[in-house]
Each structure stands twice: as C-alpha cells, then as structure tokens.
Symmetry: C2
Subunit: 344 residues, 2 copies
C-alpha cells in the first residue's frame, strides 16, 4: 500500500488494519511523542504537568468523533454513543472520568428537533456516567441533514494504578463483561430497516470499573470498532504472550446469534459500545467476575480464555488463538476488512 498515491476509502475508518496503517503513516509520523507513541485509548499526561502552577495531579485525555449512521437506533443514539465511547476509554486506563467537551458539526437540513433529542441524550448519558460537559463548539456545513459530534474526555488517575496494554501475564484469565455484537447488529438492523428486538449495548462502564478498581487488573480495553478479535490481538501482541479463548464461552445473545447466522457475521469481529475485556490474575478472576455480573451492564459477563506462555510450537509469541466449538484451533488477527462503516 502506497499512502502517497491512494485516496481515503471507507476501509480507513474501519478501526482494523487499514486504519492502523493510516494512523502510523500519517498521524503518528507527524505528531509522535512519548505520550502518543504509547498508543493507549486515553493519553496519560506526565507527572509534573502542574509543577509550574504548584500542583501535582495526573490526568487522562481521550478524543472521539462520532459519525454513526443512523443517528438514532434501538438502544441508543449518537449522543449517548459519544459519551459512553469517551468515558469508557478513560476508564480503561484506570482513570476516573471527570469532564467532557462536546463539538458538533451539523449539515444543513438537519432537524433541530432531532438535534435536541440527541443532545439531551448526550447530557443524560453524561449524568449517568458522572461527568460534566465543560466546553463546546458548533459548526454547520452544506449537506443532507447529517449530524456529527466530537467528544474529548478528561479523567484523573488515582495513585497506584498500573493498568496498561502490555500488562497481561501467563496464567491470567480473560473476562468479557457481557454479550458481543449487540451494537453492530442494532446499527445494521436500523440501516436495513429490519424490525427485531436487538438493542445496542451502548453504556458507560463507570460503576463497573469503580467496583473492580481495588483488584490488580493487568489490562482493560473496551470492545468497540474491530470487535473482540482486534482488541485481544492488540493486547496479546503488546504483552508478548499467547492468548487462548474458547468459542463456546463467548457470550452472544440468542437474537444476535440468529441475526449473525443469517448474514454470515462473526460476533468476534463485531463492534460493541458497552463491553470491556479485563485481563486479571487467576487468584482473583472468579471474584472479579462475580462483581462484574452484579454491576449494571455486566450480568452476562464470562471468563472466556486465558493467557499462556508460548511453549507449544504451534503457538507464536503474541498470538491470539480461538478454540472453536468443535475443538479446532484457529489463529485470529486484527480485523482485516472494512467492518461496518459508520458504526460509531
């Protein structure tokens, strides 16, 4: 792929391999610094940020532009999606979300009634997530009634937090906080005007993360664009260990499973907006699972796999392996195709 001569295509927004290449080749190449190079979901600002004004705090920052189509769907809308995506990114670094910005780009023809509804939804989700909106912006462009929003989140980091992408160690268990594919299936249903009972899982994981924050979580990541496969492959590669997951342990709602069967979709690569994976030491895995199951949005949580040393010669260091329902082993990579465009 030669980025100098190619044009942007939908695949560059997929969150998969082509997005990664674009980010490396264009953005990371231009901006790179220690903070960005860490490639975490939320930027952890260095100690000493406030030294010149007398303070010592550490804060996290993350940003997300939402282009979901349609802007409203079963279970959520672009406003709730913006808040949850950003808040969950802050939570995955072990920080406490505090503040959001809210910057809207509105196309001509957008209905103010619709806008008001998604803005109210944004505000309600912010209240649920425990964050305050502290800055905003509005722009208008020619178009056909579309609505886009960008949200930047700021969080604070409690002392002693060491969660990172590379934290997984052999023996760790892999917990997923609930069923996979719900958001992807809800967006696709709305776009195809299929009337079913599938609802997006879009939700802030603030309360869940608060309740498990006293446990020594090694890695955490929300399962969004690119799905579980992409997220786990990124974590296994970062840790240099082997991840093995079990297909039969992966929770998928029955209605979503049927939907995927009809359309030939794989829940392992479908986007969610209220699900996280946590990599935890075996000593506390059952306890963490139990807590997550008793949290809002965590009732279907499950242990779906484990972290191993790469001893078996069919396994590569940093690899992700799926044991299928019929007992075969399949190596998984990050999502290669487009995924579902404009899923968030």
């Amino acid at each position: 792929m030669n980025l100098n001569t190619e044009k942007i295509a939908m695949i560059h927004g997929s969150g998969g391999a082509a997005t990664g290449e674009l980010i490396r080749e264009v953005f990371a190449a231009a901006f790179h610094n220690e903070i960005l190079d860490a490639m975490e979901d939320a930027a952890l600002l260095p100690d000493g940020l406030f030294a010149e004004v007398g303070g010592t705090g550490r804060i996290t920052v993350t940003t997300d532009s939402l282009v979901v189509d349609p802007i409203e769907f079963h279970g959520g809308d672009i406003g709730r999606l913006a808040v949850c995506g950003t808040v969950n990114d802050l939570l995955m670094r072990g920080s406490i979300p505090k503040y959001l910005t809210s910057a809207w780009v509105l196309e001509t023809g957008a209905r103010i009634e619709d806008l008001r509804r998604v803005v109210v939804s944004f505000a309600e989700a912010a209240a649920e997530a425990g964050v305050q909106v502290v800055a905003g912006d509005t722009k208008v462009v020619e178009g056909t009634g579309g609505i886009l929003v960008n949200t930047t989140g700021i969080g604070v980091v409690p002392a002693g937090v060491t969660i990172s992408s590379s934290g997984a160690r052999p023996g760790d268990r892999i917990i997923v906080s609930g069923t996979l594919g719900d958001h992807h299936a809800a967006i696709l249903s709305a776009r195809m005007s299929i009337d079913n009972d599938i609802r997006s899982d879009v939700a802030p994981l603030t309360e869940m993360c608060r309740r498990i924050s006293s446990y020594p979580i090694h890695s955490m990541r929300d399962v969004t664009r690119g799905g579980l496969g992409t997220v786990l492959k990124e974590l296994s590669a970062a840790s240099g260990n082997v991840f093995r997951i079990y297909e039969k342990a992966i929770p998928v709602r029955e209605s979503v499973r049927r939907f995927c069967g009809l359309l030939g979709l794989d829940p392992v690569y479908m986007g969610n907006e209220g699900k996280a994976v946590a990599i935890v030491p075996p000593s506390c895995a059952d306890e963490v699972l139990e807590i997550v199951r008793n949290c809002p949005y965590g009732e279907d949580a499950a242990i779906i796999g484990e972290v191993m040393e790469p001893t078996d010669d069919r396994q590569v260091a940093g690899g992700l392996y799926l044991e299928t329902e019929i007992g075969g082993i399949r190596e998984l990579d990050v999502m290669q195709g487009e995924g579902l465009p404009r899923i968030c």
Copy 2:
C-alpha cells in the same frame, strides 16, 4: 424563531446571533453547569479537580471543530487553523497552552497526499505554539473528498490570573494586535479563485501572550468568527460599560481594504485567526502596545478605543459605539447575518 420546527441552516454556523440562539436553546439548555454557563472561550476547571488524587492544579480546556473550505489557502490551511484557533482560545483566559487532541473526519475521495500536508502543518503549528498532541481519532464518511478536524486544547493557569470576559473598567484602553479581515479575505479570495496577495493571518499568539502576561490585562479575546464587532460587543455587554472605538484607528491592510471596497465587506465583522483584542488599564496601555508591536504577529497593533461609564444619554450601558471616519457615532451589535460560511 421556533427551534422546535426549524431546520439547521448555514446561518447557525455563523458565530453570530443565530449561533448564539442555537447554543442557548439546545446545548446550554441541556448541559448547563457553572463552568459552561460562564460562556468563556476556554473552560476553567475548578480548584480541587485533583484533590482526590493529591494534587491542586487548575487547567483550561477548549474545543473547536474546523470545517474551513477550501482546506488550503494563502497563508495557511485547516491544520494550522485548528491549532491556532484552539491555542489562542486557551491563551485568552490567561492560561499556558500545553496539550492538544486531534480528531479527523475524512470523506471518501480525500487525497492522502493532501491529508498528510495538512497534518504536517498541524504538527508544525503545534510545535510553534509550544503544545503537544496527546490523543487522536480518525473516522471516514461517504462524501466528496472533504476533510474536517476537531481539536481540544488543555492549558494550565498560573496563580493570580484574573482575566475574564467581564473585566473591562472605565478608562481602560482597547488594543487590537494587528490588521483586521485578512483571514476572511484570504478564504473568500481562494473560494472565488481571485489571485491576489492577501494572506490569512492564522497564527498562534503564545509568544505575544507570554510577553504581556506580567501586565494587569482585564479582558482578552481572539477576533475570530463574527469579527471585532461581535467580540467587543460581547465584552462590553459582559462588563456593563460603554466601549467606544475609532474607525480611523482600526488597522486594515491596504490590499484587504481594496478587496472589501470592491465586495462591500466591513472589516469590523470579518473573521481573523491570529488577532486578539486586549482591554488594559490606561496606566500601562502604551507599554503593552509597544511590547505587542515587537512580538511576532503584532507589528500592526494599535489602540483603537476606550472603555467609558455610560454617562452620555445617547449611550446605553453595555453598548459598543463606533466613531466613524467622518465623525458620526454608530452603535454596533454582534454580527447579525451569516458572515462567511466555513471560514474556520
């Protein structure tokens, strides 16, 4: 205007009266809290933000989505514009810009070569302004090759800073840091394919603000969408005092003046991207002016007016008055029309 039934039109993005109404009616109504209600360019986060993690810093946050068309023009591009707009907003609160986010929405068909150029320009402007990019995002939508970007900025506030929108006091002088209308005229020239020597003034005012930071500035504001008239009317209204400015003292580049004459444009309502107004006590006005004139981007600075008590019965408290070149007095309001769409 009934926001429940009307659709979004270009005028809602003007930065003038209709934008203000939309923000009040939709966004402020849904989100309002002490920080947002202050309606400053950058959000000043409260003391105690870091109390729970042991720190005491105060930070500022601002966000801006850029939809400028075309994305490149004489003197700048969307990348430099994003950085400067955001950095200048942080500076206007008396804070020191530290960090930026950078979130791009790319239309299909956008040329990666063009993207790379404006991203590099973003990075160069960030380096000039003394800020680090700490988080990013990329999304793709169907379209015709357009590029949008959102930037959120974070700054730190030195102890003792009291700059605010309402700080102007009778006797204060009004300083503008240079010529008006350059950015607006450059964008319009590019859009009309007029070949002239007008260049956008897009620039970060970091160094200028650093050099005048030891003076007791009462108010500062960058002169962007809506122009000098809109900015000064907002400051006069917030302070409750009368502002009087002198048309003959307002610096306008000769080429821009000719351009405005041809098209019937008024530099007082044209957008800039590297200009600020400062409201300063009379005791140090000449000294501050001299410093600004010796700063990068400040060589054409001028004292253009003063703050008065509303003693004259032709003057209303909070009013903004222009003494025209022929000696008449005209009351100015915030910009009422559309201004130039997609100027930033």
